[in-house]
């Protein structure tokens, strides 16, 4: 599935990290997105440290990124090398080997839909000012919308060369279908979208086409049912 996951991520905008670096006093940034087949894919990392911060947490299954995703709230650690981090002891220890003094994690979520996570680090400790936090939140929001649009219009396998989605359907229908599949499969909004993406991929269709069938009730994700 690794190649498939890579091709799914191909159409995503790898330049998304740049905005954070240009607007905030940070050393690096990484963005991961839940893109469909693989549990998630890193969209961009501005340097190897930023990438490592994300990978470590993902591999260990602990760290502030998971807290940000669970709570859908930012996790701000202006002095991450200090203090005891009882919730993620192994990651805290691993961090000491990296040039990371401050860590700021922002969830990328829309409605009940978790799109991904952005992790910002600085090699110098210190908090983000209220204005910088506000900027970071706005950038995170803008990133979420861009990623959602890209995820929904990607044609699996065709990568960045995919034609623009000419369907006259609104994305509203994708959100409505997400709700229907969520109820049918007894799952979360995120998993419902992943189910539709997996179905779209397997049948060479776009998520919007699948969503239209779900809303039109010709496609049902009830387990064992029609």
């Amino acid at each position: 599935m690794g190649d498939d996951a890579d091709s799914m991520a191909e159409g995503l905008d790898a330049g998304l990290c740049t905005g954070f670096l240009e607007s905030l006093p940070i050393s690096g940034a990484a963005i991961s997105v839940f893109s469909g087949l693989a549990p998630e894919t890193m969209v961009c990392a501005s340097d190897s440290v930023a990438a490592k911060v994300d990978e470590l947490q993902f591999d260990l299954g602990e760290g502030p990124r998971w807290e940000a995703l669970r709570t859908r709230r930012p996790v701000l650690l202006p002095n991450v090398r200090r203090g005891r981090h009882a919730a993620w002891p192994v990651f805290a220890k691993s961090l000491l080997e990296l040039d990371v003094a401050a860590l700021f994690v922002f969830p990328l979520a829309l409605g009940a839909l978790d799109i991904g996570v952005v992790e910002l680090y600085s090699s110098e400790s210190g908090p983000l000012s209220p204005a910088e936090q506000s900027t970071a939140l706005q950038l995170a929001d803008a990133t979420t919308w861009r990623l959602l649009r890209q995820l929904l219009t990607l044609v699996p396998g065709d990568g960045a060369d995919a034609p623009p989605d000419a369907s006259p359907l609104s994305r509203r229908e994708v959100h409505q279908a997400t709700g229907m599949v969520l109820a049918q499969a007894g799952t979360t909004a995120r998993d419902a979208l992943l189910l539709m993406r997996a179905h779209a991929f397997a049948h060479g269709r776009t998520v919007r086409e699948v969503a239209r069938d779900v809303v039109g009730r010709s496609l049902d994700f009830t387990p064992g049912g029609g």
Binding site: A109, L110, G111, A112, L113, A131, S134, T135, L137, Q138, D141, A142, W145, R146, L148, R149, P168, L169, S170, R171, R172, E173, H175, Q176, A177, T178, G179, M180, V181, L182, A183, Q184, A189, V215
Partner: protein
């Protein structure tokens, strides 16, 4: 049936809206009241409020029909259409005759005509120099709005702006963005909840929204709060 003067209806509508705005209010309930009232008073066939999301696409925040056809007309023209022009220029856009004047936007034109819409009046939602969205009024007949109707339409658009942006935000541009993005994100949650209801109650999206709104009102919750509980399956409507 007693005839109520139009001035009376207009002032009644604004009193109703003003009353809602006093306490903790439900943005989405209020926006729906607003589009419903604007259609009734301005004799329009349909109305929709759109905001532009950070990706540059139009998002419908409230419309007189939750069915996809109207939403499509409002949203499909992202990038090119009179609703977008209204947002971009911050000026009123009036298309007296969509059939005769709509050719610059062929997708919009054919979609609007297929819904039986013959005219469009798009009013910007403005906060000082900034435009945050537009109120779109569709008519079954060709022809412009009267000057009086245009003034009322702008008043409705202004109230919609106030509804979306709280007083403090109106002074700080960063807060404006946060509140607008929160509203846009909330609307997605509502769409997802509509989907859950459509499946569990086996109804269409219009009825699903009516159930959602009815439950929220009956239980003294906002539509957003109710939608959140539906998605996390704390309640069933």
């Amino acid at each position: 049936m007693a005839m109520i003067s139009r001035a009376g209806r207009v002032s009644a509508a604004f009193v109703k809206i003003a009353n809602t705005l006093v306490a903790d209010y439900d943005v989405f309930d209020l926006l729906h009241t607003l589009v419903d009232e604007s259609v009734g008073i301005l004799d329009a066939a349909a109305a929709g409020l759109v905001l532009v999301d950070p990706a540059g696409d139009l998002q419908v925040m409230a419309s007189t029909s939750e069915e996809s056809q109207l939403v499509e007309v409002l949203q499909l023209e992202a990038g090119a259409g009179p609703c977008v022009d209204c947002y971009r220029t911050g000026a009123v856009v009036t298309i007296d005759d969509i059939e005769a004047q709509g050719s610059p936007w062929p997708l919009f034109q054919s979609s609007a005509l297929s819904q039986g819409f013959r005219s469009l009046h798009a009013v910007p939602m403005r906060l000082r120099s900034r435009t945050i969205g537009a109120l779109n009024l569709f008519g079954h007949e060709t022809g412009p709005l009267t000057a009086d109707d245009a003034a009322i339409a702008q008043a409705f658009a202004d109230v919609a702006t106030i509804t979306l942006l709280q007083e403090r935000a109106a002074r700080e541009s960063a807060l404006i963005n946060e509140q607008l993005q929160h509203a846009l994100s909330s609307r997605i949650l509502i769409e997802q909840a509509k989907g859950v209801i459509a499946h569990t109650s086996n109804v269409d999206m219009n009825a699903a929204f009516a159930l959602l709104r009815g439950y929220a009102r009956a239980h003294n919750q906002t539509i957003y709060e109710t939608a959140d509980k539906i998605i996390t399956r704390k309640i069933t409507v």
